[in-house]
């Protein structure tokens, strides 16, 4: 066995432990239960800690085969980032710049799914720095749903992580976090891209406890 998988596994265990120690994170399995089925977890994105937090909530076996999709332009910018993303965090790097890109992100993601991995994706495409709770979704999630209807799409609302580790911050503030897992979203027969993007975004938004509280208040 080469050193890299061992390094990865150690890093994954250490990061999950750290995430739990700092944020006391708890998974709330609201619309689904942990399972062996291959899945695509899609979540809101405002912090580098997001995917570490999400994977810390998964059962160990599922965590080991789940890989996060991240922007190649950001993670290839310098050597340290690249080594971190490729060797330690084991992310799937895709090019977001669709004018100049060499490899098609869809091909890369579908290949990883074909290898039996589960994926974590952030359909907003970037970290959300606005006051809006969720940005518009990019098309990737629709294309994945279309190409692999057998893989469950699970909405996951990540609570508080943007306060723990905001963009540009290096040290995390210890605050309690939760990840709410919702009901799987399936592409309807003949459902078009816009409708599906809206519907999956809405499904994620509805898991936000603040959204639920606002509804209760009317």
């Amino acid at each position: 066995m080469s050193a890299k998988p061992l390094l990865r596994r150690t890093a994954a265990v250490a990061l999950a432990g750290l995430a739990r120690a700092v944020t006391g994170v708890r998974p709330i399995w609201q619309g689904c239960a942990p399972s062996d089925r291959q899945r695509i977890y899609f979540a809101n994105h405002a912090s580098h800690g997001d995917f570490i937090l999400l994977s810390a909530c998964l059962p160990p076996q599922e965590r080991e085969r789940t890989r996060a999709v991240a922007g190649a332009d950001y993670w290839r910018k310098n050597r340290i980032r690249h080594v971190l993303a490729r060797d330690i965090l084991n992310t799937v790097l895709v090019d977001r710049n669709w004018v100049e890109r060499k490899d098609d992100p869809m091909t890369i993601m579908l290949d990883v799914l074909k290898d039996g991995h589960s994926l974590i994706i952030f359909p907003e495409g970037t970290r959300n720095m606005t006051d809006e709770s969720l940005l518009r979704f990019r098309s990737g999630i629709y294309n994945l749903a279309l190409a692999r209807p057998d893989v469950e799409l699970i909405p996951c609302w990540i609570e508080n992580m943007s306060r723990v580790l905001p963009k540009g911050a290096f040290l995390p503030v210890p605050l309690l976090c939760r990840v709410v897992f919702g009901e799987p979203v399936m592409l309807g027969a003949g459902e078009d891209r816009h409708a599906f993007l809206d519907r999956s975004r809405q499904a994620l938004l509805e898991l936000n406890p603040e959204h639920q509280r606002a509804l209760e208040r009317g």
Partner: protein
């Protein structure tokens, strides 16, 4: 110390009896074929958590002063984390928030370790009180400024300053009671937490009239009065842990319990304002750290200063 051994044997006995009662109650209700009622499920979780909490305190006591200081620094950390989670924070607060956890908590407890009472007493209410709004102002974000600053101040006062007065009892030089500070801490914790448990028991058994129906549905006059009287008797019976006479011990226990009741009431008001039932989920059956420590937050500083004034 013989007292310590008696104390922990006593606690062991109380917990064993509690676990036995809960088991018998469990048998009774499941024999009828029903599922365990939720009160009983919660009671079991609470008793189990008590075993763990008592174990943690015992281990800290084994390590003496350092162990107790570390234990309460951790209590402060967990309490502050729960508190800050419920407050409004903005991106500009990041450094202040980090400082609360990485600077204020370690410094406050380090001052206890080196026995520098003068600075311990004013570090939070003077220096942090002034430095925190100054640093927040420098960050340049004035949105909800007063609200953010006040919430930070409150958090530090409740979760760090007040809680640190429990281990601060170790620094008191009480004539004729040298080297027994740990026992005084045990006395305070036993009476305040005992009062919580007794208020819960009396409330469940006899509770009818609510003290503050808008704030907490579980706090009743029957529970409050029964809890305070019985906890005062408990305090008087534990006088041998303290420099007090039995009568003084009973009065100190009564005072701590009344303060503890107010602590619980204030904590409930904050939770109600923020629309949550519990502070967190750290201690199963109880909720978060602050759900268990809220009474200690209010009782500890008052207990400390009265002992300091009259006995030290």
């Amino acid at each position: 110390m013989a007292e310590t051994i008696w104390l922990f044997l006593g606690l062991l006995a109380v917990l064993t009896v509690a676990s036995a009662i809960a088991t018998v109650l469990g048998w009774k209700s499941t024999r009828k074929g029903d599922a365990l009622p939720s009160t009983l499920v919660n009671l079991n979780a609470r008793i189990k958590a008590w075993w763990i909490m008592i174990a943690a305190i015992s281990i800290a006591f084994l390590f003496g002063k350092g162990g107790v200081i570390l234990l309460f620094a951790f209590v402060s950390f967990a309490a502050l984390r729960e508190y800050v989670t419920l407050t409004h924070t903005r991106r500009g607060d990041h450094w202040i928030l980090l400082g609360m956890f990485l600077v204020i908590i370690p410094v406050q407890y380090y001052l206890l370790w080196i026995d520098w009472y003068g600075l311990f007493a004013i570090f939070v209410p003077v220096y942090c009180f002034l430095a925190m709004p100054a640093l927040t102002a420098i960050s340049g974000d004035t949105a909800r400024f007063l609200e953010r600053v006040s919430e930070q101040q409150w958090g530090i006062m409740l979760s760090v300053y007040c809680i640190s007065h429990v281990p601060a009892l170790l620094t008191l030089a009480i004539p004729g009671f040298e080297g027994k500070g740990l026992l005084l801490i045990a006395f305070l914790i036993a009476t305040v937490q005992g009062s919580d448990v007794l208020q819960y028991v009396f409330g469940k058994l006899f509770g009818k009239r609510k003290v503050a129906p808008k704030i907490s549905p579980s706090k009743t006059w029957e529970g409050l009065v029964g809890g305070i009287i019985s906890a005062s008797l408990l305090g008087a019976a534990l006088f041998w842990l303290s420099p007090f006479t039995p009568l003084q011990a009973g009065l100190m226990a009564a005072l701590s319990c009344i303060m503890g009741f107010f602590g619980g009431l204030v904590a409930s008001a904050i939770k109600r304002d923020r629309g949550v039932k519990d502070w967190g989920h750290m201690i199963e059956g109880h909720g978060g750290m602050l759900d268990r420590a809220d009474s200690l937050v209010f009782a500890a500083p008052v207990f400390f200063h009265i002992v300091r004034y009259f006995w030290a």
